[in-house]
């Protein structure tokens, strides 16, 4: 079937960058300055002038307005400015999809996907809102002490673990793998701070089944990635890294208020993943390495299952440190340290790492990566995923 209505192979990643990653509140730079630094860094990595950028794509209501950035960079011809609705970190690969769409349809020639976050300068994600009154959907949850992301999502994970007999050790393996990889990654905030099973087991509960180390960090920083048309694939120092697919979505009534989606114990990827593979023209068994957004480890577990990489009733056997860390393991996972141990750059750092795996530039490089997948923001709606491919995949 001839189908022009695809993103497959139509755009390539020209450059990526991140700022120094900080613990929350420790950035010496303003949030907007972090955004600029990451974007300039990505241009330098690509070897292009920042004035070539003609499009911006972000998510989760990023505060760094693209018109202000375009003015700051002196861009002559702004052609594309896109914000992916809702879903927090679920928008990371969605923002990439929007950028790839702009490139693929000729709306823009050089689009930067970016996210900047200074949780020290603005509100924290992990704190309950403090106000005298509450109304709307929060009025139906927060009076019962359910108000943080960890609390919203533990309820889903508990249901999934109950339905499929998943043990705590499966979540622990995801956390241990992230920290293991971070020890080789000098960019990682948790570099030099290893984690072992005993330390995990002894760490405090945040909300069952999440120990402290099942939860992402809160950080300051920025990351950026530049997409250009596939025709330019050979213009850069990197080997080509194509966008094979990128899209977003959610299942039937995923957003039904007060925890009323009928299919509840899910990462929200059941409808997204099949479309992702269809567009990329790859199978789950083709995936060489996975970056899977960890707001909480339980979300990773369900994302992996719903992307067809592990049967739901085989999680206890599949999620082991060995399987998740080495080239010979079943699924090398979160090879930069991810949101748990590299930096919570609202997930865009995972996309950056997914590209580096195709380029052969990861600090935990997996051998012969051709298909590199990223899943963004499990359990929210909409969620999103993307697949990067080497030249061999086209």
């Amino acid at each position: 079937m001839s189908n022009n209505r695809t993103l497959r192979g139509k755009s390539v990643v020209a450059g990526v960058a991140e700022t120094t990653y900080y613990k929350r509140g420790e950035s010496p730079d303003a949030e907007f300055k972090l955004a600029l630094k990451a974007i300039l860094g990505a241009c330098e990595n690509a070897g292009i002038s920042p004035k070539e950028i003609d499009g911006f794509s972000s998510y989760s209501n990023d505060r760094s307005d693209p018109s202000r950035i375009a003015a700051a960079l002196g861009i002559h011809d702004l052609r594309f400015a896109s914000m992916q609705w809702g879903g927090g970190g679920g928008g990371a690969s969605g923002a990439l999809a929007n950028a790839a769409s702009a490139i693929s349809t000729g709306m823009a020639e050089c689009v930067v996907v970016f996210r900047a976050l200074a949780q020290g300068q603005f509100g924290r994600f992990g704190q309950g809102r403090q106000s005298k009154f509450t109304s709307g959907e929060p009025a139906h949850t927060s009076p019962f002490g359910l108000m943080s992301p960890a609390q919203m999502f533990a309820m889903k994970v508990n249901r999934f673990m109950h339905d499929h007999g998943v043990k705590q050790e499966a979540l622990r393996a995801i956390s241990l793998a992230a920290y293991h990889h971070a020890q080789n990654n000098p960019r990682a905030v948790m570099h030099g701070r290893p984690l072992d099973a005993e330390k995990y087991d002894n760490s405090r509960w945040i909300v069952e089944p999440f120990h402290l180390y099942d939860c992402c960090q809160e950080n300051d920083g920025a990351a950026a990635m530049i997409l250009v048309p596939a025709e330019r694939a050979k213009d850069f120092d990197h080997p080509p890294c194509y966008v094979l697919s990128a899209l977003s979505g959610s299942h039937y009534r995923a957003g039904a208020p007060v925890h009323n989606t009928p299919d509840y114990g899910t990462s929200t990827f059941k409808t997204v993943a099949p479309r992702l593979y269809d567009m990329a023209q790859v199978k789950p068994s083709d995936v060489d390495v996975l970056q899977s957004y960890e707001n909480f480890t339980g979300g990773v577990l369900m994302s992996v299952v719903e992307h067809g990489l592990c049967a739901p009733d085989e999680c206890n056997e599949f999620f082991t440190l060995e399987n998740l860390t080495s080239s010979s393991g079943k699924l090398p996972l979160n090879t930069s340290g991810g949101n748990l141990a590299e930096c919570y750059m609202h997930g865009l750092g995972l996309n950056v790492e997914g590209v580096r795996q195709v380029w052969g530039e990861s600090t935990n490089q997996i051998k012969d990566v051709n298909v590199s997948m990223v899943t963004s923001g499990p359990m929210v709606t909409p969620v999103s995923s993307c697949i990067f491919g080497s030249e061999a995949t086209l």
């Binding site: 704190q127 309950g128 005298k132 139906h140 509960w205 007060v258 925890h259 509840y264």
Partner: protein
């Protein structure tokens, strides 16, 4: 010790300004559990919306159901994310579904020992927790094992 399940100081729930969930909060004050029901197709719906998601009728009513349900999922919370809960210690939040109303769900606390074993599928009955010392007063629907 507070007479309520959670320590005082959390935000006071109010019906939203457009009136969408007013019947629910008014019902709780009178020890009634009121859920949205489509007057056209008779389907139950929660949280409330202006439109029936099944038949797209705007003709939605609110009806009382028996305050009994089943634990659909649960969580034991340890880390206080609000200053009012600083000295709370662990507490249990449950998601309760109503087989008698198309399995719609509400969130509440499970009364009793916060360290009690938690079981998906357990039957629970409602307890109306009247907060009379706030302005305005309000009522929460809590749960205990049936």
């Amino acid at each position: 010790m507070s007479e309520y399940y959670l320590n005082p100081g959390l935000a006071i729930p109010r019906a939203q300004a457009d009136g969408l969930d007013k019947a629910y909060w008014d019902g709780l004050a009178e020890d009634k559990l009121i859920i949205q029901r489509c007057l056209s197709c008779k389907g139950w719906q929660w949280g409330p919306e202006w439109l029936c998601h099944r038949c797209h009728s705007f003709d939605l009513g609110y009806e009382e159901i028996e305050s009994t349900g089943v634990i659909y999922s649960h969580e034991r919370v340890w880390h206080p994310i609000h200053p009012a809960l600083k000295d709370q210690g662990p507490y249990v939040v449950v998601l309760v579904e109503f087989p008698q109303a198309d399995y719609v769900r509400v969130v509440g606390n499970l009364l009793g020992d916060p360290l009690q074993p938690l079981e998906i599928g357990a039957k629970v009955k409602g307890v109306f927790e009247h907060h009379t010392d706030t302005d305005p007063v309000y009522t929460l629907l809590q749960w205990q094992l049936a």
